[in-house]
C-alpha cells in the first residue's frame, strides 16, 4: 500500500500535552510532517492558508469543537474531501452517529496505540483511493 509518510498532518487539540502524545505516536509510525492547532478556529485558518493532507482532531475544545470544525471543513468547497479523523474520549452511540452524519472519515477512541492510529490512517487513505 502506498501511504505517503511525508503527507502533512494537522493535529487539533486544546491540550498541548495531548498534541505531543499524538505527534509522538505518529512519529512511531513514521509520520514526521506534523503541524498543530489548539482549537477549531486556529485549525480552519491553518487549513485555508497552507496545504494540509490529513486532519486528526479532538472532539471537545473551546471556541470551535471538533464536530463544528468537521462541519466547516465539509461545507468548504476547497476542503470538503479532506480526510478527517476524529479523536474522542468516549465511544458513546450518539457521538459516533453525529460524527458519521457530519461526514467524518473515521474516529478513534482514546486511549489508543501507535498501531491503532496508523491502521485508522491507512484505512482512510485506502478508502480515498478506492
Amino acid at each position: 500500500m502506498d501511504i505517503d509518510k511525508n503527507m502533512r498532518i494537522l493535529v487539533v487539540d486544546d491540550f498541548a500535552t495531548m498534541r505531543k502524545v499524538i505527534k509522538n505516536l505518529l512519529r512511531q509510525s513514521g509520520y514526521q510532517n506534523v503541524t498543530e492547532a489548539e482549537d477549531g478556529v486556529v485549525a480552519l485558518k491553518e487549513l485555508r492558508s497552507q496545504k494540509i493532507d490529513f486532519v486528526i482532531s479532538d472532539w471537545n475544545m473551546p471556541n470551535m469543537t471538533g464536530i463544528e470544525l468537521l462541519k466547516a471543513v465539509r461545507a468548504d468547497s476547497e476542503l470538503s474531501s479532506l480526510p478527517f479523523l476524529m479523536v474522542t474520549a468516549e465511544s458513546l452511540k450518539d457521538n459516533v452517529l453525529e460524527a458519521v452524519k457530519a461526514g467524518v472519515s473515521n474516529y478513534i477512541v482514546k486511549p489508543f496505540t501507535a498501531e491503532v492510529l496508523n491502521e485508522k490512517i491507512e484505512k482512510i487513505i485506502e478508502n480515498l483511493g478506492g
Partner: protein, 155 residues
C-alpha cells in the same frame, strides 16, 4: 457505595495506562477512605451526573506520574510542570470515558464534567457526594497511585 462501580474504573485505569503510557499497574485490594486527604502528589478529579452521580480522582505519586508522562510524550520529564498537569487531566478524561463506556453497557448512562488537576504534597480531594469513597490502590515499577471513586444515587 455500589460495588458495581469498582470494576469499570479499575479496568479503565489499567487500560488507559497500558495503552498510552506502556505501564502495567498492579491493582491492590480496594478499601474505604474516610478522610479527604489525597494519597498522591498530583490528582486529577472529575465529576459525573446522570443515571449515577459522583466523582473520581486519580492521585499519583511524583515518581509514578513522571514516568507515566515521560512514556506518553516520548521525552524525559524530571519535575512536576504544566505538561504533567495537562497529562493528568487527559488521563483522568480518558479513564472517565472508558469507565463510562463500561457503565453504559450495564445500562447506566452517565455524563462527565471537565477534569480539574491539583498538585502539591498533602492536598485534599473532596467528593461532591461527601464520601466515603473507595480507594483502589495500584503499584507500578515506578511507584504507587490510587483511583479514588465516590459514586451513588442510582435511579
Amino acid at each position: 457505595m455500589d460495588v458495581r462501580f469498582i470494576n469499570p474504573f479499575l479496568e479503565a485505569t489499567m487500560d488507559v495506562l497500558k495503552t498510552m503510557a506502556f505501564v502495567e499497574p498492579r491493582p491492590g485490594k480496594p478499601y474505604l477512605k474516610k478522610d479527604d486527604l489525597a494519597k498522591g502528589d498530583v490528582s486529577g478529579i472529575i465529576g459525573f451526573t446522570g443515571a449515577a452521580a459522583g466523582s473520581m480522582a486519580l492521585s499519583f505519586s511524583s515518581e509514578c506520574i513522571l514516568k507515566i508522562v515521560s512514556n506518553m510524550l516520548g521525552e524525559e520529564i524530571k519535575e512536576i510542570n504544566g505538561d504533567i498537569k495537562d497529562a493528568v487531566g487527559e488521563i483522568t478524561n480518558m479513564v472517565s470515558g472508558a469507565a463510562r463506556k463500561k457503565l453504559e453497557s450495564l445500562g447506566l448512562s452517565i455524563s462527565a464534567a471537565i477534569p480539574t488537576v491539583v498538585a502539591g504534597k498533602g492536598h485534599s480531594v473532596s467528593h461532591v457526594m461527601g464520601g466515603p469513597s473507595i480507594i483502589i490502590p495500584f503499584e507500578t515499577d515506578h511507584g504507587a497511585f490510587v483511583a479514588d471513586v465516590c459514586m451513588g444515587g442510582v435511579k
